[in-house]
Amino acid sequence: MIRHRDSLNHDFHDNDTGRLMGFLAATGRAFLVFLEATGRLAMFTGTALSHCVRPPFYPRQILRQMIDIGFYSLPVVGLTALFTGMVLALQSYSGFSRFQAEGAIATVVALSITRELGPVLGGLMVAGRIGAAMAAEIGTMRVTEQIDALSTLSTNPFKYLIAPRLMAGLAMLPLLVLVADIIGIFGGFLVGVYRLDFNASSYISRTWEFLEPLDVISGLVKAAVFGFLISLMGCYHGYHSKGGAQGVGAATTNAVVSASIMILISNYLITGLFFSTK
C-alpha cells in the first residue's frame, strides 16, 4: 500500500520536491501540535488559577499538600543542600588557591547557594519527588474515574485536587529553599572550618559580609516560581493522562521532565530580571 503510494509520488514529483514537501508538512504538523499543547496548557493554567482565588476552598487538602511538599521533602532537599555546600567549599578552595583568593570561599558558598544552587537543586529534587507523585496520583484518579466521581459529587476537581497543590507548591518551596540555604551554607562552613582549617568566626563574618538581602530574596522568588511549575506540571500531566497504567507512567515521566526543563529555563529568565547589569 505504502510502497505503491511512494512510487506514485515518484511519478508525479521530482524526488527532492517530494521530500521537501514531506518535510514541510511534518514541520507544520509538529508546529500545530505544539501550538495546541501550548494552548491547552494555557487554558489549564488559567482555569486552575481562577479556582485558586474563588471559594469554596479545601483547607484540609491544602494542609495535606503543604505537609507532603514542605515537610516530607525536607530530608532530600536538606541532604542535597548539605553536600552541595560542602563540595562548593572544597572546589572553590582548590580553584581559588591558584590565585591566592581562598578568603573568598565563604562568600562564594553563600552567594552560590542562596542565588542559584539552593533553589535550582532543591527545585529539581522536589520535581522528582513531588511532581512525579502528583502526576501518578492524579493520573490514577483519572484512569480509575475518580475524577469523574468527584464531579458527580458536586465537587470541582480543579478546586479540590489542583488548586490546593498549586497553592501548596507556591507556598512551600520558598520555605524549603530557605532551609536549604541555611543547611548549604552550614555545609560549606563545616568543610571550611574542619577540613580547610579556616577560623570559625572569621568564616562566619565573611559569609555575612557580602551577602545582600536580594541574594536570598531572588532565590526565594525563584523557589516560589519553581514550586508553582512543579505542581502545575504534575497536575497537568496527571489530569490529562489516559490509557491505564502505561498512560500514568508516561504522565509521571512527562511531569518530571517538563518541570525540570521549565525550572532551568525560568531560572535563567528570573536571574536576568534580578541581576542584569545592562
Binding site: E145, D148, A149, T152, L153, S154, N156
Partner: protein, 269 residues
C-alpha cells in the same frame, strides 16, 4: 414518594425526567454515539443493554456532563443541559448519583468519608453528622460499621461496589445511574447487588438508569429496557416483552448467540 413493589411494578409515570434527542459523540475519527434518542420517565427504572464498546458509558457521561456531546439535546426535568455554564452544571449534579463501572472509590479516603463525600463537600454538612449518615447508608447496603474505617483498597470487588452504591445514594439523588453494577462479581453477589439497587431506588423513589449486559440483572431491575447498538438505540420496550421483542438484534443479545445480525468487531476500529 411513589412506591414500587418488586413483583408488580406500577407503570412508569409519563412525565419525562431525562430526554435525549439526536445525541452524537465522536473521539477522533471514531463515532461512538450516532444520534441517541431516549426518554426516561420520572420514577422509572430503565435498563440499557448492549455489547461492550457500543457507547453505553459514554452516553451516561454525556448526560452527567462529564463529556460534551458533539450535537443533540439532553434535557433533564425539561431543561436543556448541554449548554450549561460550569456553575449551573455543578448545581445540577446534586440531582445525580452514579455508581461507576469500577466503583471509582477515592483511595486516599477511608470508606466512610467516601460515602459521606457528597454530604461534606457538596452540602457542607458537619463531619460528625455526615459520618453517622454514612454508617447508616453502609448498613443499608449490608456493610457493618467496622468497614467504615477501612481503606477502599482493603475491600473485595463486591464490597467496593456496595460502598460505591452507598456513596451514590448518600445524598438522596433524584436520578441514579448504575454502570455495569454486577460485572465481575460472582452470581450470588451480583444478585445481592441487584436486590440492593431495586431496594434503594424504591426507597428513594428515584429515576434510575442501569447499564448492563447481564440479562439476569436486567430482568430484575428493569421497568423498561433499551438496547443500544452502534451508537443508536435500536429497541425499547417493557421488561416483560424482552423475550418477544421481535427484534433480531435484541433476540441475539438476550440469548447470547454468536451468530446473528450483530457481528463482533474482532479488530478495533
Amino acid at each position: 414518594m411513589p412506591s414500587r413493589s418488586d413483583t408488580n411494578r406500577t407503570p412508569p409515570s409519563t412525565t419525562p425526567k431525562i430526554t435525549l434527542k439526536g445525541v452524537t459523540k465522536h473521539f477522533g475519527p471514531k463515532k461512538v454515539l450516532n444520534g441517541i434518542d431516549l426518554q426516561v420517565g420520572t420514577g422509572e427504572s430503565l435498563v440499557v443493554i448492549g455489547g461492550s464498546g457500543t457507547g453505553k458509558s459514554v452516553m451516561l457521561k454525556c448526560i452527567l456532563g462529564l463529556l460534551h456531546p458533539d450535537s443533540g439535546s439532553i434535557r433533564v426535568d425539561d431543561a436543556e443541559t448541554t449548554k450549561l455554564n460550569p456553575r449551573d452544571r455543578e448545581k445540577l449534579q446534586h440531582k445525580f448519583g452514579m455508581l461507576f463501572q469500577g466503583a471509582a472509590l477515592f483511595d486516599s479516603l477511608p470508606v466512610w468519608e467516601n460515602v459521606a463525600f457528597g454530604l461534606i463537600q457538596g452540602e457542607h454538612m458537619p463531619r460528625a453528622q455526615a459520618k453517622e449518615i454514612a454508617i447508616a447508608k453502609l448498613g443499608a447496603v449490608g456493610l457493618t460499621p467496622d468497614v467504615a474505617e477501612l481503606s477502599p483498597s482493603e475491600l473485595s470487588g463486591g464490597m467496593q461496589k456496595r460502598v460505591g452504591l452507598a456513596r451514590a445514594i448518600a445524598d438522596e439523588p433524584e436520578i441514579i445511574f448504575f454502570d455495569e453494577p454486577t460485572t465481575g462479581l460472582d452470581p450470588i453477589m451480583a444478585d445481592v447487588i441487584n436486590e440492593l439497587i431495586v431496594e434503594c431506588v424504591k426507597d428513594l423513589g428515584a429515576t434510575a438508569v442501569t447499564i448492563t449486559h447481564d440479562m439476569a440483572s436486567a430482568r430484575k431491575i428493569a421497568d423498561r429496557v433499551a438496547m443500544i447498538h452502534q451508537g443508536r438505540i435500536i429497541w425499547t420496550g417493557h421488561a416483560k416483552d424482552i423475550d418477544q421483542s421481535g427484534n433480531p438484534y435484541v433476540d441475539q443479545f438476550v440469548n447470547g448467540r454468536a451468530d446473528g445480525p450483530i457481528k463482533m468487531q474482532i479488530r478495533a476500529l
